[in-house]
């Protein structure tokens, strides 16, 4: 086996629990409402489906480089990481707890297609509650950092939640969007979005594109230690700003300018060229370090 591959711990492939084990300081993981103390979703049982003891999300205390942190990790392999009643309530509870206890950060390991259709109303309201709870934690001075690099990405309501966080750390394999390409293809046709064209899907929703456009703060390798290093780097000296009119006005301006400039584009290649990248077609082939260097050299 190639040594560099042997030593790599893919975030994409790992379970939620394995991600947490590699992200937090060794021995610091302390789960709240662990599987032995919880019950699977009765709503899934009603539909004759097996549930999971943790309902697809782990909430915990822990430490990162000795700093106290809270973490939320969604399990993408269970029901696509989708948010049901119990799943959502665990997240809301932890975020509210963060308002009281003020850990150094809440790390939100998002791996979710959004609302769990089997519990659609409970899931939609829960995501709305998560949205408000994320903003409450941030207003209390607690940074909420989204980590996106799992097989389900961050879609639907969880895509909105990701963008409400203080910052997003994403891997090249990570995807961040609202509607999944399959949904768009089903409703609007394959000419609008060919969900089987993986390269296109990544040029529209993938980590490199979101990083180049500034929607994600950091791009990291698909590697658990790389996410850990990325979080530590981001949190060093991070000051969670109080919500303010000036900052929201600035965001509004950025989004309006971007829409005015790129509204007709349909492919990342067009946006990257407009950002000043001389050879946009080379972007998908660049490794992480080269891409970060490329972005840092772009005109602002």
């Amino acid at each position: 086996m190639i040594p560099s591959l042997a030593s790599r711990h893919s975030w994409f492939e790992a379970t939620a629990r394995a991600r947490l084990a590699g992200l937090l300081d060794p021995g610091s993981f302390a789960e709240i409402l662990p599987p032995a103390e919880s019950q699977p979703s009765p709503h899934l049982a009603m539909l004759d489906l097996p549930g999971a003891f943790d309902d697809g999300v782990v909430v915990c205390y822990g430490q990162l480089e000795k700093k106290p942190i809270f973490a939320i990790a969604q399990e993408g392999q269970f029901m696509g990481g989708a948010v049901g009643e119990i799943h959502g309530a665990k997240i809301v509870g932890l975020l509210r707890r963060a308002v009281q206890e003020k850990p150094a950060a809440v790390l939100f390991l998002i791996d979710s297609g959004g609302v769990r259709l089997h519990e659609a109303n409970a899931g939609l309201i829960a995501i709305s509650e998560i949205m408000r709870a994320v903003l409450d934690a941030r207003a209390a001075g607690v940074p909420v950092i989204a980590l996106v690099g799992g097989s389900c990405g961050a879609f639907g309501g969880m895509g909105i939640v990701a963008k409400l966080c203080s910052a997003i750390i994403i891997s090249e394999e990570g995807r961040l969007a609202l509607s999944g390409p399959e949904v768009i293809e089903t409703v609007a046709g394959v000419e609008e979005f060919d969900a089987k064209d993986r390269a296109l899907v990544w040029r529209v929703t993938g980590g490199k594109h979101r990083y180049l456009m500034g929607d994600c703060a950091e791009l990291v390798e698909d590697d658990i230690p790389a996410f850990r290093t990325g979080v530590a780097k981001l949190l060093a000296g991070w000051q969670e700003a109080a919500p303010g009119l000036a900052q929201l006005r600035a965001s509004q301006q950025v989004l309006e300018n971007r829409l005015a400039a790129y509204a007709t584009y349909r492919d990342g290649l067009q946006v990257w060229a407009a950002l000043g990248i001389a050879r946009p077609d080379s972007v998908p082939l660049l490794d992480r370090d080269s891409l970060v260097a490329l972005k840092e050299g772009l005109p602002t």
């Binding site: 665990k90 456009m213 509004q252 509204a263």
Partner: protein
């Protein structure tokens, strides 16, 4: 019911409301003074331009009219489904809109939303469900997905979903389900200035009370688990 009929019924003392690109912005006179009126109409599929028009209007209101209540009229079929919209991170613009509504609340602007016709998924999340209290007209459609599409995606027989939907508000489409789950405060038989007046008073109280929807869902018997689980997580001592 047309938007104008709804506006006339809600604001008999007068309203100045413009509609552009399915986005409603303006102001109206109520028994409690002037309110900002904003939202979407004709089952708008929310895109970047609509989200930014709404967020811009929220910020203008915060800047120019401190404390003015926000009345959202919700008629959305969800989010725009297109590649160009996703390319520019549509979830980002919807998150920005939600942030602006939340900021207005923190600045002391009471808010309420009224679903006039449709409220679906992402469009509903970004502003209707961000208000202090949400209401719906009696014939409004509120849902994530209709049962036929849900059956296709979940591979559960449509007849089975219909049967369960009769008793469980957990996934059954409809404003009534959302009332029982605590997501919608009440259903209005018709748009009315009196109901709006009461709702504005309730929103003034809700603005400082925080998110009460889990408790409401529990007391109405629709969402029996969420409140206890959130409280347990909030208060539990460290695990193993």
């Amino acid at each position: 019911m047309s938007l104008n009929d709804i506006l006339d019924a809600l604001f008999p003392a007068g309203h100045t409301v413009a509609v552009a690109n399915q986005v409603i912005t303006g102001e109206a006179t109520t028994a409690q003074g002037t309110v900002a009126v904003l939202g979407t109409t004709d089952a708008a599929a929310i895109d970047h331009a609509m989200a930014l028009a709404l967020s811009g209007f929220v910020l203008d209101t915060v800047e120019r009219h401190p404390g003015r209540p926000l009345v959202f009229l919700v008629d959305t079929s969800g989010q725009a489904l297109s590649r160009s919209q996703e390319l520019l991170c549509l979830n980002g613009s919807l998150a920005h809109l939600a942030s602006c509504v939340d900021f207005a609340r923190r600045q002391g602007h009471p808010s309420l939303s009224l679903v006039t016709a449709n409220a679906v998924s992402g469009g509903f999340l970004s502003f209707g469900l961000m208000a202090d209290q949400a209401y719906a007209l009696a014939d409004a459609q509120v849902r994530v997905m209709d049962l036929r599409a849900m059956s296709r995606v979940t591979k559960i027989a449509h007849e089975r979903l219909v049967e369960l939907a009769g008793t469980s508000p957990i996934f059954a489409p409809g404003a009534g389900s959302y009332v029982r789950m605590g997501g919608i405060a009440a259903i209005w038989p018709v748009p009315s200035a009196d109901l709006l007046d009461d709702a504005l008073s309730a929103a003034r109280k809700a603005v400082s009370a925080g998110d009460q929807r889990q408790g409401t869902g529990l007391s109405r018997g629709g969402r029996l688990l969420a409140s206890d689980i959130a409280t347990t997580v909030q208060n539990a001592t460290a695990g193993a």
